[in-house]
Symmetry: C2
Subunit: 406 residues, 2 copies
């Protein structure tokens, strides 16, 4: 039985900056988009005031379980290497009893207040915490399911091979309800790329799960790992089922090697997710898109033991993407926005996405004149509709959204 909510008519909004229209929402979906729509009886009417209308924003890569959003300030004194950060975090959690359930809910709510209605989060699975973080995030996913679609990636943050039992935990995670299988640097962290990837792809095959691999490895090492991943995506017939997060190597291998990898990725439907860090080589956005590779945006961690930065706001991430790739023209800024809307949904396979009738009614109203202005100015969201319900006004969640306000 579908719960039939009352209709909602939003008057006078401008889809991606186009001419003003009305949007009728019924049963959680967009029922009609057009000029001067009639309001059926018992329809709740909202004045859009000529605001820019965007579809719900898409977070392609974050770590809800790691965040200290809303907690005491964490004084970061961590060493510079990847392994320093991994070990520091595991130790911090052991000592602090970090509650991934409460923290993921706090951050997911903040994302929702800023119009993020679809979100992919990596969740740490390791031999110390077991499935504890996963259970917490699955609880958050269940609490918010009517308003925010959360994809949970079971992620071996401490490596897949180094700590015996991790593969079994990933297997259990997929059985427990994770949506996507995660991986991590098969050379640099696991030290045995062939075995690491074989184990990973076997688990994915068993659960018919898509894969999303953190690939921080630079240059030739990263390109080698990426080629091994593509070999397996092909051999396992995983077209459109594999994604690469970061993929820094695509920003610093020679153009000919890069282009050959991008061509294979496009053929296999392997998507790329970037947080567009200013301090690293990054996959070249426009070249990736021209090659036919879907490129989406993600914040990566927000306010955690790794990294003090970040806002649960995909317009701010689009701005950072724009700055990283020197996107200045309005048509270029539309590409930055696309990374956190249409391309984000396509890369994560979020369905029923967009402003067309029939799709899930995830609507974001922004007081901006153009999509480019929305990206550079990032105003508080005037109204957020998620799954057909009004969930936030002026950046503040409505009282009936589950979870405690921070």
């Amino acid at each position: 039985m579908v719960h039939v909510s009352s209709d909602l008519l939003i008057r006078n909004v401008r889809p991606f900056g186009a001419a003003g229209v009305d949007v009728l929402v019924r049963d959680g979906r967009i029922a009609a988009v057009g000029a001067d729509l009639d309001a059926p009886a018992q329809t709740r009417v909202e004045e859009g005031g000529g605001a820019l209308l965007l579809p719900g924003l898409v977070e392609g890569h974050t770590h809800l379980d790691k965040t200290m959003w809303g907690l005491d300030w964490y004084r970061n004194e961590v060493g510079p290497s990847l392994i320093d950060k991994i070990d520091n975090e595991r130790e911090f959690r052991r000592a602090s009893g970090h509650d991934a359930g409460a923290q993921s809910l706090a951050l997911a709510r903040a994302f929702l207040a800023n119009g993020t209605t679809r979100l992919r989060t990596h969740v740490d699975v390791d031999t110390q915490a077991g499935l504890r973080h996963l259970q917490g995030v699955l609880h958050t996913r269940a609490l918010l399911k009517d308003m925010q679609q959360i994809q949970v990636v079971a992620f071996p943050q401490s490596g897949l091979l180094g700590r015996p039992g991790t593969a079994q935990l990933l297997d259990q995670s997929m059985a427990a309800g994770a949506d996507v299988l995660g991986g991590l640097d098969p050379c640099a962290i696991d030290g045995d790329p062939v075995r690491s990837l074989d184990v990973l792809f076997d688990i994915a095959e068993r659960h018919e799960a898509p894969i999303d691999i953190h690939l921080h490895e630079p240059g030739a090492m990263g390109a080698f790992s990426l080629s091994l991943i593509l070999d397996r995506a092909q051999a396992h017939g995983l077209r459109d089922r594999v994604a690469i997060s970061h993929g820094f190597c695509l920003g610093d291998v020679a153009p000919a090697e890069r282009d050959a990898l991008l061509a294979r990725m496009a053929r296999l439907g392997v998507a790329l997710i970037t947080s567009a860090p200013g301090s690293r080589a990054v996959p070249p956005l426009m070249i990736c898109r021209a090659a036919g590779v879907t490129m989406m945006g993600g914040n990566d961690g927000i306010r955690d033991t790794w990294n003090p930065y970040g806002m649960p706001d995909m317009l701010e991430r689009a701005m950072l993407i724009g700055l990283r790739y020197n996107l200045r023209r309005d048509d270029e800024l539309a590409v930055a926005l696309d990374c956190v809307t249409e391309s984000g949904a396509r890369g994560c396979h979020f369905t029923d996405y967009g402003l067309q009738p029939g799709h899930r009614a995830d609507l974001v109203l922004v007081d901006a004149r153009t999509p480019a202005e929305a990206v550079v100015a990032r105003p508080a969201r005037r109204l957020v509709v998620a799954g057909g319900q009004i969930v936030a006004r002026h950046g503040q969640l409505q009282a009936d959204v589950p979870g405690a306000p921070y």
Copy 2:
């Protein structure tokens, strides 16, 4: 005659996150800092509520005259090269009658609302506009002089040699009240680095003016120009009088050449200003500081025909500096903040700067627990005191600040 304003006592603020103190302001200056200060008769008392206390923020490099802050959205369709952007802007201004006076005031006010009490702005001087932009910005400087110290750089945006008469206009600009003489890419724009720099340094000598040169030139070309600049700084005895904006070449020449240039810069007191763009090589912040070169932060242009980005908020710029240089630890974020506070003031030679008694009372209260949190979260400024006056609360200017609200 000094205007004697009533005293102001701010209770319970934490300088750079240290233990809570009170701050007494008298005659525009910090009179005392300490625990539980007595309030003299007729003292206005403000509750600081334990807010973080920072000195007024410093903008080391912006272009107040160029901005379209508060105007209609400018649709950017500009070509990729530097010359495309220069020519486009000149043509836009000719067609639009862009009012640099009104625009500079609007943006300077927005900077003030966000706690920027000292600011260096480059102002275009060219054969088409003559001194029109300069006069507008000098008017803004005069209007705000009691609350915001604005240094005006006479800047040959269209080149110094290419358009005959520009050198004379720069000379007139200095006579008309500009504080600093600006320069631009002596190889890439002027095409005759020796003559360009000789003309520039002659004007500076005539007016005993400091110099600030935009140096976008990359790699070997930029290093060559920089060495010519250093030769002249030395020959003219301009110790502590020359600054380099951008200095991208220091981010992509070989370390040995870079270090030799930095050592010369340190000896000559040549400061560096960076906007820390994510899409370019940049001078290495920590290496520059270790070499003894003062490195400060600036937004560069904000919402103009060059660039749609930017906020008149130096905490946001500090965040972008932090992201660009991968500053994650609290002690590293303090360096990002230093670029827009102490180092900014030192590099621009703003005097009477800081939280010590006797200095000009430019105070910024931020609801943040630590300096690092102020940088990453950038909350609206709870209170801004400039030259001893309360000028803004919660990001909103007080009504008596000159200029029309946007």
